[in-house]
């Protein structure tokens, strides 16, 4: 006979079921029923395979093997917020230099929308000397002397395009595959799909430099959107407490903290027995992870543990918030099995309005801040054998115009370029990408792509492929649609970029 006490629990559980629970379960159940039917249909139709991302709610970040062999196991994404000028860094245009100062041809302006340019702007040639480097004589501007020495490891894509010409939507598109908020970021998708190796650290860590300015779109850039919140990016700081509110309050020992946690866990467990909501288990798991992180995160973030030689190579200075420090932390996190490490360095929005937004001032400073650490990160990853299975991506959200920005028809105080969604340059390195490659080509003015255009969704599809995923199969049902990072438009894996 059944224990009467158990019957009582059953009763209380039934009583705890609200109308919303029931409806939620009901529609969920029906949805599952339908999905099941739809999935068998899928399998028969030889479509993308249906993957099972179900995990024990207590370990939402547990590792799931990718559907097929991954060439990259983790990602370090270096986002250069504000959109660096490809024309002054990578996309060398001697013809544009020749037409420097001429009126922009009408054909460039017809049917185009600009953020600020109005009337007839002047053409603006490359602002820095370019030189050829690397085995293949790839052109690069003299603003990136350190990266120049790593050119043979880079896979440059000069034919990136986007359909957004304002920062926030364009950044969202690059990060979440959609220009609107509410979608899951690349890092969330990857940790959702693969989990994270190190259960003592978040699987998706965000590091922000440039005076704490993230980027225009803010935190949704690393949000989990419709995916469970446990897959959102966790912002860590490279100076002071790595994760805010993680440390014990003053005069509270780790043992006391443990006692508190045990008590909270017990209450949560009772709640779970009563209501059976898996989110409660996830909550317990998150408290426990936070407790473990107290030790591991401090260690992972602490660049004082690096040798002075290493600090010098990165140009890192312990105690500061800098891109250099973040690069070094990124390497430490990669070593510790963190799945997705996202760096933000804002300040590339070279309109030429205030001092720090000129191609001749701001861009120079940003290069000075980032060139050495970026190159050092690549070298360091390579030396540690990590570059083989770490995918490093560098890029902004769009490109910049070959025209000198003339906001309101005025000449700018500093040299500036407007937003340009039609062509920009990004690069990738490491995990399965073809090293020493230049993919795609823009016209002589660097205005439009003339060969091998790569859409943002193509880049995403390629990245997911490198991580062992079919972008069509990495999906999550939400609002009646199988949501995908690459959206509903057809995305292409770019074969040329693969090693």
């Amino acid at each position: 006979m059944k224990d009467p006490r158990l019957l009582l629990t059953d009763l209380s559980r039934i009583q705890a079921q609200t109308r919303r629970h029931f409806l939620g379960w009901g529609t969920g159940g029906l949805g599952a029923f339908f999905l099941n039917a739809a999935m068998t249909e899928d399998a028969r139709a030889d479509g993308p395979q249906t993957l099972n991302f179900a995990r024990d709610p207590a370990t939402p970040l547990s590792v799931l093997p990718p559907p097929f062999r991954a060439r990259a196991k983790r990602v370090i994404y270096l986002h250069m917020g504000g959109a660096p000028s490809q024309l002054d860094l990578f996309d060398y245009k001697p013809v544009l230099a020749r037409f420097h100062g001429h009126d922009c041809p009408q054909s460039f302006l017809k049917g185009k929308r600009f953020a600020f340019i109005s009337g007839i702007p002047k053409l603006l040639g490359p602002q820095f000397p370019f030189r050829q480097a690397g085995r293949n004589g790839t052109w690069i501007s003299d603003r990136m002397p350190h990266l120049e020495r790593r050119l043979d490891e880079l896979c440059l894509v000069k034919s990136m395009k986007t359909d957004q010409f304002n920062h926030a939507p364009a950044q969202l598109l690059v990060h979440t595959g959609d220009p609107r908020t509410g979608h899951a970021s690349l890092g969330s998708w990857v940790t959702y799909g693969l989990g994270s190796e190190n259960q003592n650290l978040p699987g998706f860590i965000v590091l922000v430099s440039s005076g704490g300015i993230t980027a225009n779109a803010g935190k949704p850039l690393w949000g989990s959107g419709f995916l469970p919140s446990v897959y959102q990016g966790v912002q860590c700081r490279s100076a002071g407490e790595p994760v805010l509110y993680l440390d014990n309050p003053k005069d509270v020992s780790r043992a006391q903290r443990r006692q508190v946690l045990d008590a909270v866990d017990e209450i949560n467990r009772q709640t779970h027995v009563q209501f059976g909501n898996p989110e409660t288990v996830a909550r317990i798991a998150q408290y426990e992870m936070a407790f473990r992180m107290q030790l591991e995160a401090s260690d992972a973030m602490d660049i004082r543990r690096e040798s002075p030689a290493v600090l010098e190579r990165y140009g890192a200075e312990p105690g500061k918030t800098s891109y250099a420090n973040n690069c070094l932390v990124a390497r430490r996190l990669a070593e510790r099995g963190v799945r997705f490490i996202q760096l933000y360095h804002w300040g590339w929005d070279s309109h030429g309005t205030p001092t720090d937004e000129g191609v001749n001032v701001g861009l120079v400073n940003r290069c000075r801040e980032t060139d050495q650490p970026t190159a050092a990160l690549l070298a360091d990853l390579k030396a540690r054998g990590l570059l083989e299975d770490t995918l490093v991506v560098w890029g902004g959200e769009f490109g910049r115009t070959p025209m000198w920005e003339n906001r309101g028809g005025q000449e700018m105080a500093f040299i500036g370029r407007d937003h340009h969604p039609s062509a920009f340059t990004i690069w990738m390195a490491g995990g399965g990408v073809k090293a020493g490659l230049v993919h795609g080509q823009t016209d002589d003015m660097g205005y439009e792509i003339v060969q091998d255009p790569v859409e943002v969704r193509d880049l995403h599809a390629t990245m997911l492929y490198l991580l062992g995923f079919d972008h069509q199969a990495l999906k999550y049902p939400y609002q009646g649609l199988d949501q995908k990072l690459t959206g509903v438009k057809p995305a292409r894996i770019i074969p040329q970029l693969l090693a």
Binding site: Q49, R313, E335, P495
Partner: protein, 307 residues
Amino acid sequence: MTGRISAWAYAAGVLLVTGCGIAAAMALRPGFAATVRQVTGLEPARIAAPDSFYTVRVAPLFDRHCAGCHGARAAKGQLRLDSFAAVWRGGRHGDVLGKDGELYRRITLPQSDEKAMPPDGKPPLSKDELTVIRLWLADGARGDVPAATVKDAPRLVLPVTIPQMNPQDVARQRAPLADELARLQKRYPGLIAYESLASADLQVNAMLAGKRFGDADLQALLPLAARIVRLDLSGTAVTDAAPLSGLRAVTHLRLAGTGLTGAVAPALDGMAALKVLTVTGTNIAPESLAGLRRRGVTIHGEGDDGA
């Protein structure tokens, strides 16, 4: 009731008129003419050689970009591009080939043109793909020119195909070690995982266990040796006496930050499958790895790391 003619005369008349009608239709409708010629065998069936430039380079482009609407499923404009014979037959208005023919004209129209192909915002053919088709047309759209002899053709870029897996095959491959793996995964949670859903190969990430992982633990993993292909021992407590040579399937080995010395070299030499080795931050002298280097093993982190 006058003016009657005989049935035979009428039949002859009908034949004549019908014949003239068909002839007129053939003259006005080259597509119809081509069909009639092919159906009646007036024109030999065209077949492209399996190694021809058409079969190797052009046909896949037609398949990918065109055959959805110009193929077995639908033949818009009565044009099919899913076989060499059909390509030569042409569409409603006849021949589409030729250097300045309808086919090349339509695929090179600006996308804004409503006659541009492929239509409806489907991705246009890339510059290289257009070059392939232009070369083929310029050479007479032949089906017997071997692909290898077309020198100016852009490099062949094959679209990436998603590897398909067969769950039964994978399960079969995994079966022999499945119990052992389950036991060891319980003992070392989070350290051992399949490389992918489609594989029975394993990767071991002992780095996560740090100094708690030593020679004895590596020894415990040896029953899985046949399937361990990636092994990360970074920062673990393994010593030069670690049973490394037993890990015969490992291709990628990371030893970064361990206390290993050159004395581990013979064990490493015994790892027949080894391809990539990382020794950053160890005391393994570069000269002790000479044997591996001769074998073509990539070694990271010898001597000074980075720079």
